[in-house]
């Protein structure tokens, strides 16, 4: 009757995909040679990569590490490879790397910047990796701003202690006054008390305690600071201080209080309208003319203030972008919960606004860190300034690429780390608003 020719009753075993579709070959076929046009592009790109690497790799690795001058380097190159072309003379780095890193910081005190750097990482850990590091470590973070200047500049230990006491004095006055009068009076009185303490009283305090109990370490002059250490010092201070100032400015710009608002707008627009190099010239030259003769206002401190103000203005605009991106409902939600202004900012607005702004904030950080090299123009010996000074030595006059390659590598490590951290943070804070 009916003739059912064939019905398969069991599944066929899976077969391996064709060799041309999987593995390395498949990947290459899909990604590099998926058509005649892509194949040509691939070949051209490969040639370009080979061309660059064939020049750069021998330059980096077929190089001279031990020599006392550029001429000696050249002699060694001629003796080894028969030509000086295409070989690096890393001997200059070998000779001067400590200077490029630390400037003229006294060599027996190198441990101090190194300890400062390690403590910086310890102080940053509870902030950067709050989920993995115990929050008790925040004590280190709080102490660090006073400990770091003491380690870097040395001198008496009472200086940083007096600076820290300024905050204690301010807090004490604030709590005292705000209980009797209003909170606003307390804040004004607290700030005033701190400023009076820092400007007037603390010098007597330091002098008195130093004569009773002189504890201190060898002092180092600001002129001796230099090299990559100076870039990190300026960068860390500018980054660390500009974020809180930037938040305050961004909030101030959106404030309903007219004077606060226009002060913030004026500051932001003025600073953003002026090139950083102009501010640095003001710091190094004009301030000298404004201040009474004989005033010794530390040059590095002046530069730090200018760089901080500069990055704070940019930071404020980045954060304002984050604030603007928040839906209005978030503000209204905070109001409907009965939170006051600061509670709403702390609990609802800022966590979201800052998260949105992370890429912009980190870009500003990286930018200001690289901008620290501009200080070479006002005669500070950062890495770029030192590179010129090293070239002024007759032994190394005429050497360029090696010094700049070394500097580029230093900056790349720091900037790339910042960039990777920001990507980690974005992933961690991803809460699924799509």
């Amino acid at each position: 009757m009916s003739d059912v020719s064939f019905v398969r009753t069991e599944m066929l075993p899976e077969q391996a995909p064709p060799a041309s579709e999987v593995g390395a070959i498949g990947w290459i076929r899909h990604n590099l040679f998926s058509g005649w046009f892509n194949s040509i592009l691939t070949l051209v790109s490969l040639y370009a990569i080979w061309y660059v690497l064939s020049g750069v790799l021998p330059w980096i690795f077929q190089s001279v590490w031990n020599a006392n001058s550029l001429n000696e380097c050249r002699e060694i190159m001629i003796a080894t490879w028969g030509s000086t072309h295409g070989h690096a003379c890393w001997a200059v780095i070998n000779d001067r790397w400590l200077q490029l890193l630390f400037g003229f910081y006294p060599s027996h005190l190198y441990w101090r910047p190194i300890v400062s750097l390690i403590l910086l990482l310890v102080a940053l850990a509870p902030v950067l990796y709050s989920d993995r590091v115990p929050s008790k470590m925040l004590i280190v973070t709080a102490i660090y701003p006073f400990l770091m200047p003491f380690l870097m500049w040395g001198g008496t230990i009472w200086g940083p202690i007096a600076a820290a006491l300024g905050f204690v004095v301010g807090w004490g006055v604030y709590t005292l006054v705000s209980k009797r009068l209003s909170g606003l009076f307390g804040m004004v009185a607290g700030v005033a008390a701190s400023v009076i303490w820092w400007l007037v009283l603390s010098s007597y305090f330091v002098g008195a305690l130093d004569s009773i109990l002189p504890i201190g370490i060898e002092a180092v002059q600001s002129r001796q600071f230099g090299g990559f250490m100076l870039a990190i010092l300026l960068g860390v201070v500018a980054i660390g201080v500009s974020l809180p100032i930037g938040i305050v400015l961004a909030l101030g710009r959106q404030s309903d209080l007219m004077i606060v608002k226009y002060l913030c707008v004026g500051f932001i627009e003025f600073i953003r309208g002026v090139p950083l190099i102009t501010l640095l010239f003001v710091a190094s030259l004009l301030l000298n003319l404004f201040l009474p003769p004989g005033t010794n206002f530390d040059i590095i401190l002046r530069v730090m203030i200018m760089m901080t103000l500069f990055s704070a203005a940019y930071m404020a605009e980045v954060i304002r972008g984050g604030l603007a991106a928040l839906p209005r409902g978030q503000y209204e939600g905070a109001d409907s919960l009965g939170l006051n202004y600061w509670q709403a900012q702390r609990l609802i607005i800022m966590p979201q606004a800052l998260k949105i702004s992370i890429p912009g904030i980190v870009s500003t950080f990286i930018g200001i860190f690289k901008d620290t090299t501009l200080v070479s123009i006002i005669g500070l010996f950062d890495v770029i300034g030192l590179a010129s000074a090293i070239r002024a030595d007759t032994a190394w006059n005429g050497i360029y690429w090696e010094l700049f390659a070394f500097i580029a590598a230093l900056f790349f490590v720091v900037c790339f780390s910042m960039s990777r951290y920001s990507m980690y943070l974005e992933r961690k804070l991803q809460t699924g608003h799509h």
Partner: protein
């Protein structure tokens, strides 16, 4: 806005200058250190070595002044300055003196209110060309491309020279000496022009210095010297006569080798006056009697300083030329110590 800032700065600058004139000698003595502005890096003239010690021809002037005033040639705080910051640093009182291969010109002396204490190096603008170009005189450079640092007196001198000789050139503007070396070696320009001392120093660092020649023409006068603020004549005198002491010491045959012997007293009354064993020259300056002897001990007399930093034995290899003593046909001529 801008105008009012400039006016404000000018006013304050005037006040600061007026206030800063009160006795730099006393300031330096009270401080125990001389603040001396130098170049942040110029081969042979001022540079920090591998240990951070400052070396060079201009640096030696600072050390000599520190030795004369304070008796200690290491009591100097070297303040690196750039071409842009140097004059403000001096005017504002950040530095006591500037020894930074600065050309003595009318406008700097009169208009900027500085006082040049003398000349420690007579320079002039020269030309460097590759030997392969086959040029033996700057007047044959018609139509050449010239690497020139912008915003300097050399740029103006170059234009004057070519116009006066009725020949044309094409400028390649560059910012720094380092950039100029690269551009010149890469063939971006046929000619590199700057101060002759700088050209010699630059050529010494080339891979094949013999392939490049310095042309014989020197087209400008560049007297380089230390300077101080206008109006503080006592301090100006100290710097001027310290420089003169170094020059006179060479003329009188006082060297760092024989100075201890000569300080005991000699038959030459001028040497005795210079070294303070006779007369009261130091007292007149408000310094110790052995001020000049200390200055000479700091780095030797002018000839020794020259030979050690930029002379023919060094890689920079400059001949004395105009900077020889007047008795040898040069321009160095110190007024007498009397």
């Amino acid at each position: 806005m801008k105008k009012s800032v400039i006016l404000g700065v000018a006013t304050v600058a005037g006040l600061a200058a007026a206030a800063a004139t009160a006795g730099t000698v006393d300031d330096v003595k009270a401080r125990g250190k001389l603040n001396c502005g130098v170049s942040s890096g110029l081969a042979g003239f001022s540079l920090p070595d591998a240990n951070g010690e400052w070396q060079g021809f201009d640096v030696a002037v600072c050390r000599a002044v520190a030795a004369a005033v304070l008796g200690d040639s290491s009591a100097v705080e070297f303040v690196p300055t750039t071409g842009k910051t140097r004059f403000t640093a001096l005017a504002s009182g950040e530095i006591d003196m500037l020894a930074r291969n600065t050309t003595w010109t009318f406008s700097r002396d009169v208009d900027l209110k500085f006082e040049f204490a003398g000349v420690n190096y007579y320079d002039g603008q020269g030309f460097m060309v590759p030997k392969a170009l086959g040029v033996s005189s700057a007047k044959e450079l018609d139509g050449a491309t010239v690497c020139i640092q912008t915003g300097t007196t050399t740029e103006l001198n170059l234009a004057d020279f070519f116009r006066a000789n009725n020949i044309s050139y094409e400028p390649v503007p560059i910012e720094t000496n380092a950039e100029a070396q690269q551009q010149y070696l890469a063939g971006a320009c046929d000619v590199y022009t700057t101060d002759a001392s700088g050209l010699a120093a630059t050529r010494a660092t080339f891979e094949n210095p013999g392939d490049h020649v310095l042309l014989p023409e020197i087209i400008s006068k560049e007297p380089l010297g230390p300077l101080v603020r206008h109006g503080d004549h006592e301090w100006g005198d100290v710097v001027r006569w310290t420089l003169n002491a170094l020059v006179s010491a060479e003329e009188l045959g006082v060297t760092s080798a024989n100075i201890d012997e000569l300080s005991a007293g000699t038959d030459n009354p001028e040497v005795n006056r210079l070294l303070g064993t006779e007369g009261t020259l130091g007292e007149m300056l408000g310094l110790n009697a052995d001020w000049a002897a200390s200055a000479i001990k700091a780095g030797g007399n002018y000839g020794e300083v020259f030979a050690k930093n930029i002379g023919e034995e060094t890689p920079i290899g400059l001949a004395r030329g105009l900077n020889a003593q007047w008795t040898d046909g040069g321009l160095l001529y110190s007024p007498p110590f009397r």
